[in-house]
Symmetry: C2
Subunit: 81 residues, 2 copies
Amino acid sequence: MRARILIRPKAAILDPQGQTVQRALAALGFDGVANVHVGRLIELDVDDPAQLEAMCETLLANPLIEEYEIVSDPSGDPTTP
Amino acid sequence: MRARILIRPKAAILDPQGQTVQRALAALGFDGVANVHVGRLIELDVDDPAQLEAMCETLLANPLIEEYEIVSDPSGDPTTP
């Protein structure tokens, strides 16, 4: 089964990469951009989706400073145009 | 409006980060994992969603080696559990 994992910095944690992107967008003339956050996207085929949370906790995300969201079967959602 | 951009290496491009994660998962005892790809997740508030494609082309993604997917209003999709 295909699964997608979205990993982002926790809300309380500084996101310097997001701030940099936000400033760069403004410098390029894109106005009205705010609250930019940069995280990671991991997509994988997994036989046992019940393992995904353990994978996130032990390797894929850093639970101290990141939150993760597991999306099983991403093809079933409207994120695919 | 909140928007989410998913950026991944193009299918024809080597993804060493994905290969490394796949090997590390196997080494940790997670079996049945395949086709791991690591990309980037960018979330931002934008006044004019029509600008998102230009933002991706000029700053957020590298169109030579990456493909991007723009998800407007991600709260409206079932990726949020």
